[in-house]
Assembly symmetry: C2
Homo-oligomer: 477 residues x 2
């Protein structure tokens, strides 16, 4: 007990409730929970609670609430914005969902999976795939990110263009509220208009209104065929026009449509082993398109080829390669997935996870590129991302051979420059990653007035003592 | 002024603000606004306000709020549950969105429509269709129901199985809050994780948290081909198995999948002119399936025929007719759309707009049918509806030649009987129609405990004086 700052009566009660495996108090044991994986934040905690069931979790939350102890829900700890890291007061407990990790049921009639919060997204995807079904949510951190966190942050990723974000896939939820009451919204219904859509409120609330313990996820039949192509384009305009061409022919066939700037692609092919450009020469930009269908006929190949042929004729694309095997398909995707790693190896970088309306993407990329290049000579403007749903990771890499610290000292100037153009096009300063603690300062100017005031009213109504994930989403008063 | 019970200072201020076209106070002028179209409720109001813009609406709401006058938002006045009708105190004003009726913009790049609340769903559908686009929400009342009401009640209808409810189609919203502040959530973004998803909260809140004035709707490319078939099946099990067969081959092709009981179909073919069964003989039940594709090839016909052929072989269906022309397609849909009218002509009926998980539909229909037939000898159990999304209109028609009043006197016994089985399968007592005033009494037993308590906290936080659509959703204290 000497190494815990928990009130003694709470410590005793939690130890009785959770047992040795469920309560970590020593600094050594809790240290890894107190830092985010990006190493942006170093917090402290009074303890890490690891309940093994909803019942244990609810009782633990009730005990903490009675003692006025703040609680920080944590899943796979993969937040990009410090959303699951406590502050450095050491007062808060972290509630880890790691031990709530059962896939309870997969239903072939309803196409649903009932799954506990601590199951990783990848484990859930694989369980669905073993049953011939698809969990159509795919993000870079899926090997570590867990279902609870994925839903609490309304994760997006590559397949949003076809299947929506985590929100659209979440049919049912079970949530432990800040006072320890359990909210059972575990209904597997496509239609249910019986009062406020509470389920929707917890998806994307980043754990500030309650802790998600279980979910029912909507699955889809696994695709029988996929067609994947990497295309060289001259500009973001052409990439968007290519997307529109596929969408016009069959929006339901487009599982993913990704954009990669030539600058970012160049970093991948030069800095990542075994990643070579499978096209005859480099281009100003690239589009990676994946079509998928559950039909057994081969019309998907026809669709891909006919759209690409027409795109050649209209000079929308200058080159393209189609995956002829699953291995080739994975190689094309590896090129896409290595952009973050390549940028990391290229030096310091400033990340902007932004979205704009689809139609504004070309103008946004062009203007933001020009402005950043004017701001810092030699800066490598390396955007990539999910152009099919309007989400660009507008990342800026330091000048080659330049000083990293000097570059990073201008991070606010860079972010403000990008943000100004995002704002001009009615976009979002955080498309996928959420607010966490990193972006709370942006809330007043972007979501201020009636919008932030309404959020604050909801927070105060459901968590009047500000005990659940404090310091996230809302700027310090 | 003599015929208005508005406080004089409020009356003057509203008259100045809204002008003669915007303020109705005489009983003759306001009467039609005070009754719901089902004639279940006869309310009274102090005035009908008809603002022509968001600005006028916001100012009018602020004035009413200052005077403590309750407000009832009203769109096309097509609620099935008295959701837009005032109580009989005469204290409330009705705020009609009728004059906010412009389609502001259709964007081909974003596939969006920016539309004011008072535009009817049908007018919005037609505007999209003229541009080669589809607004994929279709409900029986679409000729009168307006966009504001459709979103406020999270309308569903025939295409939910493919495109979701109004919620999934609503990209942006503008809402006047109970205090007269305007909440601008008019972003056209597929990804935007910047705080609580307020937009989601107003979809389905039935006007109790604010008044929707403008929306941005997600459109789709218009289908290039449709295939529609009416199939005879022996049971709900077979209808569901047929749906699963289509879903397995291509879930994205199924635009609608409707169920009709033989009893209900028999009412249509005997009581509605020009509605004959286009099959060789009557069956215990029917499925109407519509496939749609934006692809230009003819593979949709192949898909329809191959699934139906296999269904014949597996004896899932005993007969089927495919529409060979647009006229035939419309005839098949007319048969489906006339079920409500045929039931009306057959005498008194009790309606249950319920949903259960897809996999539970056959058991639900079978058990509920048996129980109702045991309850009232001769009762005509006539379910139909959107089986593809789990939503059945489980309607009961009085015994032929029996006494209507005697039948209706047992409406609670009938509804309770159906509800008990819905509850057994974790279903919803109101799939599409909402709670309104008609079903507030069901909220404590169905959504009680932490769920209703959380809803009440949100209501109190956003509308502390209970001025916005009072008496809806929440049971009287």
């Amino acid at each position: 007990m000497s190494d815990s700052s928990l009130p003694p009566s709470l410590h005793t009660a939690l130890k009785d409730l959770l047992g040795p495996a469920g309560l970590l108090t020593g600094t050594d044991d809790t240290a890894s929970y107190c830092t985010d994986w990006r190493m942006l934040y170093q917090g402290r905690c009074a303890a890490v609670l690891r309940p093994a069931s909803t019942e244990e979790c609810a009782k633990a939350v009730a005990l903490c609430a009675e003692h006025g102890v703040p609680m920080v829900p944590q899943g796979g700890n993969t937040s990009m914005v410090g959303g699951a890291t406590p502050d450095d007061s050491g007062r808060a407990v972290i509630i880890s969902t790691t031990r709530m990790n059962r896939i309870r049921h997969i239903d072939h009639g309803d196409l649903t999976m009932t799954v506990e919060a601590g199951v990783t997204l990848k484990a859930a995807q694989e369980a669905a795939a073993r049953e011939g079904l698809m969990l159509p949510l795919s993000i870079s951190s899926e090997g570590s990110a867990d279902i609870g966190g994925v839903i609490a942050t309304n994760a997006g990723g590559n397949n949003t263009v076809r299947y929506g974000n985590a929100r659209e896939l979440t049919l049912g939820l079970e949530v432990v509220l800040p006072d320890g009451n359990t909210l059972n919204l575990m209904r597997r219904l496509r239609k249910d208009n019986t009062g406020y859509p509470l389920r929707q409120l917890f998806v994307g609330a980043e754990g500030t209104l309650g802790l998600i313990t279980t979910a029912i996820i909507q699955l889809q039949p696994s695709p029988r065929s996929r067609e994947t192509a990497l295309c060289a384009v001259q500009s973001p305009e052409q990439a968007l026009a290519l997307f529109a061409a596929f969408r016009k022919h069959d929006p339901s066939a487009v599982l993913a449509f990704e954009y990669m700037s030539g600058t970012s692609m160049n970093l991948v092919t030069t800095l990542i082993d075994n990643c070579t450009l499978p096209l005859s020469e480099p281009a100003p930009a690239y589009a990676l398109v994946e079509l998928a269908s559950t039909r057994s006929d081969d019309s998907l190949r026809t669709l891909m080829e006919s759209v690409l042929e027409q795109a050649f004729e209209e000079e929308l694309i200058s080159d393209a390669v189609l995956a002829e095997s699953e291995t080739q398909r994975q190689s094309l995707w590896m090129i896409r997935e290595e952009h973050a790693e390549a940028q990391k190896r290229a030096g310091a970088s400033v990340k902007n996870d932004v979205s704009v309306p689809l139609s504004a993407i070309p103008a946004f990329i062009t203007e933001a590129t020009q402005r950043c290049e004017a701001l810092i000579p030699g800066i490598r403007v390396a955007p990539f991302g999910h152009i099919g749903d309007g989400n660009i990771h507008f990342n800026l890499v330091q000048p080659e051979g330049g000083d990293s610290q000097a570059f990073l000292s201008q991070d606010h100037a860079i972010m403000d420059t990008v943000a100004e153009i995002v704002r001009k096009y009615d976009g979002s300063f955080s498309a996928e990653h959420g607010v966490g603690q990193l972006k709370t300062y942006m809330m007043p100017s972007w979501r201020g007035g009636a919008e932030l005031a309404t959020m604050e009213k909801i927070k105060a109504a459901l968590d009047p003592h500000n005990l659940m994930n404090p310091g996230k989403i809302f700027p310090a008063a």
